[in-house]
């Protein structure tokens, strides 16, 4: 962040558009007290609660156990008092309207419920200032409405809420004041009642934007080549998830050559599993996957790759790149076979290939010998995208937006300029 001034009076819901980190300069005050340079514990003590975008819960513990983690009620000084904990949780639950059974295990909760626990957790620690980082990214519309009701109720109780989001409708819907941030700097402070989405969008981007462009459903103008049996075909696919639950249930679709298929839905409803199954990273419980009429249901990842399938994973850090490998080595991941002879990797061809892809995809810095870890997120994503089979035709990318948060990803950037 550059210089950002953010002041939120007690009660109103304020919505800054950006993130939070330790300050290099400037100061942070809570209720007039200078709290610059504090730790997370200080923040909790001062009544600030952060609800992270990615949940920080222990999946094997119950709701009540998660809530009291770090400040457990104790009977006779040593024994954890579960009943007291459950009772405390129920009381807080009814006060706030965040209804949840304290005995349930976190791993059994839906995403929306888990988020309720996150909010309860910070309230349980006595937070009066609530910071929510992109809370709606994982929620379905009814869950979002529920969340709004709870947040309004908290505000009416006198709590301060800082909502970090990039969705204009949410900002306008819920907030009382808005702080717009761009490139780490505060560019405007507005009263929600006196502004409109177009103005906020202009401040966010720095110039006029047409808000309707992205929303219209484009009619299909190109003729899709009707090659029968060509492309990717999924028949009655079912997948069992890690906890033995059916996560993909009897899904069928066809994607023809020259076609892009979008899969809509709230995160955590089987999309990841579907994509991973198509890519060959998960076992199929039932059904068929075929490319150009050739069945690949039981084939290995490498085999599917050769059949023309390439997969851009949702999680770049875990699956997409080997962080300690050089850019050049990462660019041949999955293509090792084509870059080696008699089991020996041809280094000069690897370098040649790397230079080619670096220039085609404008990967910076243009040095194939740097570890992937040293690249910026956007450039790491370019490496992932660049690495595809030369013969491939089917790409299932999972949630591409999430992969470069805080940094516009290359295609979007181009559209915006």
């Amino acid at each position: 962040m550059e210089s950002t001034n953010l002041s939120v009076p007690s009660e109103p819901i304020g919505a800054p558009l950006g993130g939070l980190m330790k300050p290099d300069a400037g100061k942070v005050e809570v209720n007039g007290r200078d709290v610059t340079g504090w730790s997370t514990n200080d923040a909790i003590a001062a009544g600030i609660g952060i609800v992270h975008q990615h949940f920080m819960l222990v999946p094997t513990l119950s709701v009540a156990e998660n809530l009291v983690l770090g400040c457990e009620p104790k009977a006779r000084g040593i024994v954890l008092d579960y009943d007291q904990a459950a009772q405390d949780v129920r009381k807080l639950s009814s006060e706030t309207g965040l209804v949840i059974e304290p005995e349930r295990l976190i791993s059994d909760l839906s995403v929306g419920e888990a988020q309720r626990v996150e909010i309860l957790k910070v309230l349980f620690r006595g937070a009066r200032i609530l910071v929510l980082d992109e809370p709606t990214a994982v929620l379905s519309p009814p869950e979002v409405r529920e969340l709004w009701t709870v947040l309004r109720r908290l505000r009416d109780n006198g709590d301060t809420i800082v909502l970090i989001t990039h969705r204009l409708d949410e900002v306008v819907d819920l907030s009382d004041t808005i702080t717009v941030m761009r490139a780490g700097q505060t560019v405007a402070r507005l009263k929600t009642a006196e502004t409109n989405p177009a103005e906020i969008a202009r401040l966010m981007v720095g110039r006029e934007v047409s808000l309707s462009a992205g929303k219209r459903v484009q009619p299909l103008t190109r003729a899709v080549r009707a090659d029968a049996g060509k492309g990717l075909s999924i028949q009655n696919l079912s997948v069992t998830g890690s906890r033995g639950i059916r996560v993909v249930d009897d899904v069928s679709f066809n994607v023809k050559p020259g076609e892009i298929l979008g899969i809509a839905g709230v995160e955590g409803n089987g999309q990841t599993e579907l994509i991973e199954t198509i890519a060959g990273l998960r076992a199929v419980a039932k059904g068929q996957i075929s490319i150009d009429g050739v069945e690949i249901t039981r084939r290995s990842v490498a085999n599917r790759h050769d059949a023309g399938l390439s997969h851009i994973p949702e999680d770049r850090h875990r699956r997409g790149l080997i962080m300690e490998y050089t850019v050049g080595d990462n660019l041949i991941l999955g293509l090792q076979k084509h870059f080696s002879e008699n089991g020996i990797i041809d280094r000069s061809r690897v370098m040649e290939h790397a230079m080619e892809e670096i220039s085609t995809f404008d990967i910076r810095p243009p040095n194939p010998l740097l570890a992937a870890r040293t690249l910026s997120g956007g450039n790491q994503q370019k490496v992932v995208v660049a690495r595809r089979c030369r013969c491939d035709r089917v790409h299932p990318p999972a949630a591409p937006r999430r992969t470069s948060r805080g940094e516009s990803n290359p295609p979007r950037q181009r559209r915006a300029q």
Binding site: V301, A302, L321, Y325, L333, I344, I345, S359, L369
Partner: protein, 369 residues
């Protein structure tokens, strides 16, 4: 997506320091810092015995690198440690902790001795050595393959299985020797008929009396082969990928289970081949308990050598020096001081690697900015 910038082909890389220098710094500086810490601890220990650190260290150097016999003993000890260290580091590169070096080494030595006994007297070394090595590697490989199979098939943790296999294999070997194969009144086999490796003293008489033998050359060749496999072969690319990020490796079409199987089995093969140093090079028979901790010390060697084959060679040499040096200074301070020092080095490396790496990286970022 199309290229928007000027073509890079033919143009020199960016002005950033070359990646290999970064690598070399991160590989070498942490162990050196650890060594420094260990030296300071050693000073304090020696002082606590009322001796002069300078005098004791001088004695240590004279007794190890200072004369041909001492140096030969260091090389002999380093040879076994190089094998077991390479074995552990090979597994670690695939993300697997092979604690079974001790029993793999013993099984390898046993197989080498059996082969040497089975061959007719007078079999030329050029034939006997490869046969004995294959036997040693095979025996170690079998011991390594068991945990590998149990891991890939049933998900059994390799640390538990390799530790437990140590007991089973060593007990089995003891039973073989004590019950069937020993020379009366001893716990060792008869002398082998073929496959005896020349000692360094046969080539250069100044090494007279020391056990150093040509297995040293074999160890260096194995290190080179491991280096080539890890960093030049496709199998090594896959193996390191699995060790660094198994999920990414799987995504890249690498069969993680198959890599595990290969890595642990070959880790056992390398440890097993270490058995030739004692059996073919030194005693010319298999003796119960000859491994005497060299398999376990391989873990420390791999750690200090930062899992790089050449680093492992250096670390093996270092640990062998400490162990031989303990004998040289025994008159002034107990030789167990060297065991303490070994422990200090291991802990110091374990601590300094993440810490020093972090400092190096943040310093680099500052100089970039």
């Amino acid at each position: 997506m199309t290229a928007s910038s000027a073509p890079i082909r033919g143009q020199k890389f960016s002005s950033a320091p070359p990646a290999w220098r970064e690598h070399a710094e991160e590989a070498l500086i942490p162990p050196l810092v650890a060594l420094l810490v260990a030296l300071i601890c050693g000073d304090l220990l020696i002082l606590s015995y009322g001796q002069s650190p300078a005098a004791v260290y001088r004695l240590l150097l004279e007794g190890t690198w200072g004369n041909a016999y001492g140096f030969g003993q260091v090389l002999y000890k380093a040879t076994t440690l190089a094998f077991t260290g390479l074995a552990v580091s090979f597994g670690l590169r695939a993300g697997l902790f092979n604690i079974g070096g001790e029993s793999q080494l013993a099984a390898g030595g046993f197989a080498a001795a059996l082969t040497g006994l089975a061959l007719p007297v007078g079999t030329p070394l050029i034939l006997a050595l490869p046969l004995c090595m294959i036997a040693a590697g095979f025996a170690g490989g079998v011991v390594g393959a068991v945990p590998a199979y149990l891991k890939t098939r049933f998900g059994a943790h390799e640390v538990i299985v390799t530790i437990m296999l140590n007991f089973i294999v060593l007990a089995l070997l003891n039973w073989f020797i004590a019950g069937h194969l020993h020379v009366p009144e001893t716990l060792h086999t008869p002398e082998i008929h073929a496959g005896v490796l020349p000692r360094l003293s046969d080539i250069n008489p100044t090494f007279h009396g020391s056990a150093a033998n040509l297995a040293l050359i074999v160890a260096i060749l194995v290190a080179v082969a491991v280096w080539f496999y890890l960093f030049r072969a496709r199998g090594g690319y896959d193996l390191r990928a699995v060790g660094l990020q198994p999920d990414a490796a799987e995504y890249g079409g690498i069969s993680v289970g198959r890599v595990w199987l290969r890595a642990l089995t070959f880790s056992g093969v390398i440890a097993g081949m270490g058995g030739i140093n004692y059996v073919l090079g030194y005693k010319h028979y298999y003796e119960d308990g000859f491994a005497s901790g060299a398999g376990f010390l391989g873990i420390a060697v791999a750690l200090v050598g930062r899992n790089h084959p050449f680093g492992v060679l250096l670390a093996a040499f270092f640990f062998a020096t400490l162990s031989q040096g303990g004998l040289a200074i025994h008159a002034f301070v107990p030789k167990q001081m060297m065991d303490v020092l070994q422990g200090v080095v291991i802990i110091a490396v374990a601590m300094s690697v993440p810490e020093v790496t972090r400092v190096l990286r943040s310093a680099r970022r500052r100089s970039d900015a």
